[in-house]
Amino acid sequence: MVKFPILLDIYQRGEGPLKRVERISLPEAGDYAIGRLDENQIVLDTPEVSKRHALLVVREDGMAVSDRGSTNRTYIGDSEVDTSPWDGGLPIRIAQFEIHLVPQTISGAETRVNTPNENATRAVSGGATTATPAPAPAPRGQSIEVALNAANAPSEMRFPRNVFKSEIVSAAEIKSSEYFAGEYTYLTVGGGLGSFVWADHLRIFGVGTGDIRAIGDDVIPYANYQRLCRNSQIPPHERLRSNSQSTPDNIWGFPGYASRETWKDLKEFRFGSLKYIFQVFGEASLAQTFTPRSGEVFKSIDKEAQRIGWRDMLTYGRVVGIRKTNDERYAVAFRVPEDQARGGVRERIMIGKFLHIATGYPATRFTGDLQAFKARYPEEARVFNAYENHEVVYRTIESSQAPASIVVRGRGIVASRIIQRLYEAREKNKGITVIHQMRNPIGPKEGYRYKGAQRYVYNHIENQAFNWPKACWGGQLLRETERATPEERVKIYEALGGTTTADRRDWRNIIQLGIGDGWYKPVFGHFETLELVKTDQGPKIQMKLKAQGNQPAVEVVADYVVDCTGLIGDITHSPLLRDLAETYKLPRNLGVGGGKIGGIFVTPDFEIAALRNGSGRAYAAGQITLGGPQPGVDTFLGMQYSALRSVDHLAVLGAPNVSLFGPLRSFSQWIKWCTNATP
């Protein structure tokens, strides 16, 4: 039961910690509109907020949030929501604002009702617009319980449900509606690297730009990837984690990044980079594995995007729904941002014969204790996921000489990179210490085992060049996983899996140095509680660590926590995929780790078989297919593989202009690539 009035705190995220800009009070049940325009009940006045951004539905029995087709979307915690119940446990996030529910024991002395102000945030709660307010029930418990059915929210009326009324929609109806935005043979959803690589294959196999459309919310195909790299501290000169021949800009994988880097230097009579050739020759046994610089990869993609005419194929928009049509095709509903709509309708529908879905990671993962800390101390910018912008940490610790301790959680590649970054920060402040939190110790002989081989362990961290063993991208492991039944496959993945980092000499040296100089310390266990405590040096985070077995609990006090345990792969965190999976009962892969569910089930050709629509075909790529026939789906090479498989599949079906791509065509297209001629 909801107790009225409801108090909401609105925080604004700036450079530093979250700042509370407003406390508002909702006196009664109703639909509270959130947006930039004054007509909203809760006005958030910055350009990143859409005019009519979201709706907060408040009833006696609970609350719900629904996005109204905003450009920058609405989140609860870190999950993007379309329509979702809200229990106040996690904040609602809109652009740089966070809306927190104030626990009802706290009295709202500074509550503002009905008074607009000059702040960026103006919150007005003059009552509900549409719903009939009911008298608030007598307050009972202390907390708000939610038993709201998402269907209570008025979503059937909203785009695209107003058009997508059934599993199969009428193409003729869409074509005669105001939403219709064209029909194409090939449509790819996402517009990220997965979409780009797929479109690149189609172009090179013979399809013209006029037949392909990519719908995504970034013009640059690597925009999202670059953002994640930047946040996790991989600047352009740092090296990535893929090999020389994983080339999203070149479908052949030749010349690889190593030979290109060498060639570039040789032309200037510099011979140092001949070592890259040696690296590729000797990796991983005689030399450290070669990996390209992120900046070089981005540049190469820019060039290829130019060559294949990516800008002509890209349509800017956020896809909100996909349905089969009654003429063996697919309808893709999307919204364009206000500034791109040029006065036209923002809601649009495109129709395509062959569909490809590559929407990347559904969300960032926040482990429970971090979530709880953030909810309790929203003004303390102290705990971060490594994939979100946390520059403030480095800026703060580098700008003073005060001792600062940072907990780095996890033992994957991002953790290694963050530790490297903190090592660099120590150049400016010798008071920085690193507490590396890992779940459990791993002895040198305790690495994962699979068929007569064991993984190398160093300093409690499993080492592996890439996120899967090399033979997972072509080789016996790929063969095994493709042929396995889903149950056998999970067993293989469990045997091969587990977090790893790359075996980089510099990283090993940093840890050695850190242990020697006493500024690096590994701790084992998981945190039970995170508390804010006052100390002589100001507020700090105090953590109780539950160790494995009968080890005594450990207490850690630190200034910051950077969680490097990853991104969320669960497709239900994406409203688009959740709706698609529910509507067509898409089978899912089995997930690693008992009972979990993996990505969307695809065939070895990466077809989503359950979406087949007569002669229409739908494919998927990337993280959203995790746990299927190919292990390394979320990698450059994995995306090249899935694109090749699905485009080959189209060629055999006789899809328009897709050639069989034999040796001669392959060679002549490769020459075109080398001379930068359009395919």
């Binding site: 030979s259 991983a284 005689l286 081989a453 063993p469 033979a471 080789g475 050709d605 080959d648 791509f661």
Partner: protein, 159 residues
């Protein structure tokens, strides 16, 4: 490319046909002059000895491939660095030289035309002429023509 056993065999045969045979043919035209016996083909005289050596290389390689594949099983990544292939191919050639020295080809011509430093030097030059382009092909030239080869663990054909 990370090979499987079938992929190893397929790639070996592919390189034999694409690079080994044409290179050996050219080579045998050049060495045919001062040596005998030679065979005529379209008026050209060439020596079959280089073909015999090439075939021995192929056979030794095909026999050793399962051994490499077995060793690969003890590697966590189930991979086979280029450097390994480089060194084992040289070992294969040394084995072929040993076989010739031991007399596997003695049935075909007088010993003086098979043995001796001068002949062994010629075999080494021939091997280098075949090996270097084959290795370059392995490093990347094959996939320019056969885009699926690297994902098919070295086998040819479609997915």
């Amino acid at each position: 490319m990370v090979p499987t056993l079938k992929g190893r065999w397929a790639t070996r045969i592919l390189l034999f046909l694409w690079i080994g045979v044409p290179v050996t043919f050219l080579f045998s035209l050049i060495v045919a002059g001062p040596r005998s016996p030679t065979l005529p083909l379209l008026g050209w005289h060439y020596d079959i000895l280089p073909f015999q050596i090439l075939s021995l290389l192929l056979i030794v390689g095909l026999i050793l491939d399962p051994v490499y594949f077995y060793i690969q099983q003890f590697r966590w990544e189930k991979d086979w660095p280029f450097a390994f292939q480089f060194f084992v191919t040289i070992i294969e050639f040394v084995i072929v030289l040993g076989l010739v020295w031991w007399g596997v080809l003695d049935f075909s011509r007088p010993r003086s035309q098979l043995h001796g430093t001068e002949n062994y030097l010629l075999y080494t030059i021939h091997f280098a002429c075949v090996f270097i382009p084959s290795f370059i092909a392995l490093l990347g030239l094959i996939q320019i023509f056969m885009i699926r080869w690297r994902f098919k663990s070295g086998e040819w054909g479609r997915m």
